[in-house]
Assembly symmetry: C2
């Protein structure tokens, strides 16, 4: 049950913006039991996005979450690229157009913009790949899209973190079922990470868990994350490691 994440935006490739979106999406998918196998970032370029989308679809993840490039400017081309990669047309979503209209009308009435009318750039956001289900954007203008294609659940979300997060919580996660993957963070008291390695390897062989370890300062602690399908399996793995002489503290 693996997932991939694609973030789109020139600002991510110039380093002007740190990609916190993909970490947020990864965290939510991990909690739902998905193994996020790869994250990719490309710029606001139809050809680049189309190419990477075809590569991802070829790996057949169960879920693909895309974030970024849905706005009204010349460099917001993600929906166009998704349509191309799936060999679908972009079609007008009437319901989306109504929402976009209402959104700008409201900004106008609040005195935030000086023109409430739908121009070409604003209309553009109402076009989704044929067969896509629109995802409501409660925080901004551009709708997202949900498309099932060749067994892959594709979610297209905006790049503004506030908009992306709201859409992920309200529109994406409810479509992904309830199963939770459990993770436990532990702090191992050990003076050197390298001494831990053989014990971790034996734990991996004996129990149905995944383990991530990282140093938390020399000479004191190693941070451990145990991933498993149940609290019980994690508890058993932890007890085994303790029987090998590792002392844990919870959390970090």
């Amino acid at each position: 049950m693996f997932a991939e994440i694609l973030t789109v935006g020139d600002e991510l490739l110039t380093g002007n913006t740190v990609d916190s979106n993909s970490a947020f999406i990864a965290q939510r998918l991990t909690e739902r039991g998905y193994w996020v196998r790869r994250k990719t970032t490309v710029g606001d370029d139809v050809e680049e996005i189309t190419t990477v989308l075809r590569e991802i679809l070829g790996r057949k993840p169960e879920v693909l979450v895309i974030s970024g490039g849905l706005g009204p400017t010349h460099d917001d081309v993600t929906m166009l690229a998704v349509a191309e990669a799936l060999n679908r047309k972009l079609v007008l979503c009437e319901e989306c157009l109504e929402r976009i209209k209402a959104f700008y009308r409201e900004l106008y009435e609040k005195g935030l913009i000086d023109d409430p009318e739908l121009n070409e750039a604003r209309r553009k956001m109402a076009y989704l790949p044929e067969g896509a289900e629109p995802l409501e954007n409660t925080e901004g203008a551009a709708p997202g899209a949900y498309i099932e294609h060749g067994g892959v659940k594709i979610f297209v979300l905006p790049g503004m973190p506030r908009e992306m997060k709201a859409m992920l919580e309200k529109e994406v996660l409810p479509r992904l079922g309830k199963k939770k993957f459990v993770q436990r963070k532990l702090l191992a008291e050990i003076t050197d990470e390298s001494k831990l390695a053989p014990i971790l390897n034996e734990t991996l062989e004996r129990f149905n868990v995944r383990i991530h370890s990282s140093p938390k300062g020399f000479g004191k602690y190693i941070g451990i994350i145990l991933f498993g399908e149940s609290e019980e399996e994690i508890e058993r793995a932890k007890a085994f490691m303790e029987s090998k002489g590792i002392r844990f503290e919870e959390g970090w």
Copy 2:
């Protein structure tokens, strides 16, 4: 002159860590005139890393910077994967082993660890792909590696931000020449991003620049980043946009 960045680490795919390393690397490469075309993140898994490395090498970037997975634990497997992807052996770097030995000896003398000896896990870090040039880690134990392969300059750096940054500045950038790409951040006073689009498009057609725009709050400003090979070209593009009625402030 394009570059790619690969970050390696399970913690990046579970969302436990935000990948600020790749943004830092991207920024430095952009300043040097490289167009960072794609960033990819995979987990601490030899097969995944090897697969993605072969894909990247197939796209023939001029530069590939890899960060993460060089430490002593069971899940630090990046050097092994690099060697596999390049069909090279891992060979002991004697000079690296001496440095690693000295590094742990120093920690021991400071009372930070209770065993200064080189065990298997520590020795592991001294193995680099055959033909690689070691990159000095002034902040930690694991050396990096520089490999030229099939026209691609490959740099393998640690994942700990402090170690990665020092190695990037001291060991990578001096190997990439001096050419600087110029970027200018401007704040456009305009009430709606969509009105800017036709002016941006005309600017892109007329001048040898790239433009990134992103909203900085409704009804006030649009952030613009202009990229170009010289200050002069950027100045000309800016003057053209001003002649079309856009008012700019510097920086954001």
